[in-house]
């Protein structure tokens, strides 16, 4: 059984989902790449932000 950490799972999820979003939501390869990168940063960034928010709420 594969046992990635929570953050590794987030990175894998963000990578695959961003790849599909980039290819399907834009028309040209440069725009696909930019949009994919944008989605990846939003996925990972929002996880980090909400993790800190939950950590601060739980204290």
């Amino acid at each position: 059984m594969l046992h990635p950490s929570h953050f590794a799972a987030v990175l894998l999820f963000a990578l695959f989902a961003s790849t599909v979003f980039g290819i399907t939501m834009r028309d040209t390869p440069p725009r696909m790449f930019r949009y994919g990168a944008y989605c990846f940063v939003l996925f990972v960034g929002s996880v980090i932000v909400f993790s800190w928010v939950m950590f601060l709420i739980a204290r």
Binding site: M1, L2, A9, L12, F16, T19, V20, F21, I23, T24
Partner: protein, 135 residues
Amino acid sequence: MATTPNKPAAAKTSSKGFVYLPLIAGWLVPGAGHFLLGKWIRGTLLAVSIIAMFALGLAMQGKLYTSAQDILDMLGVAGDLGGGLLYFLSRAAGWGGTPVQTTIADYGTKFIVVAGLLNIIAAVDAHNLRTGRKS
């Protein structure tokens, strides 16, 4: 103000053949819709992403939804069905953990569902390419 009317992009493409073939092929096999249209790189990236996500979900002992007992199970079945042949083959082979007992297995279940949903998006994209709505 005079504007240029938007001509339907579909007019540019050939209307020969079964227009829903890329949609159906893309649903059954991730990336196949794009392969049929000669979009090899896009198809390969989509296939790798979706198959890897599905396989990682199974490797994490994610659950394959098989029956719908309540609304959430129903949504899970709908998401899993998006995986096309990946889902049917996995069910036939008996892969995937049934009751989710660990956090990792829960992540795996979500990976499988999201892989199915992403596959639907990819199949619809192939259909849009086929009809000329997207280039």
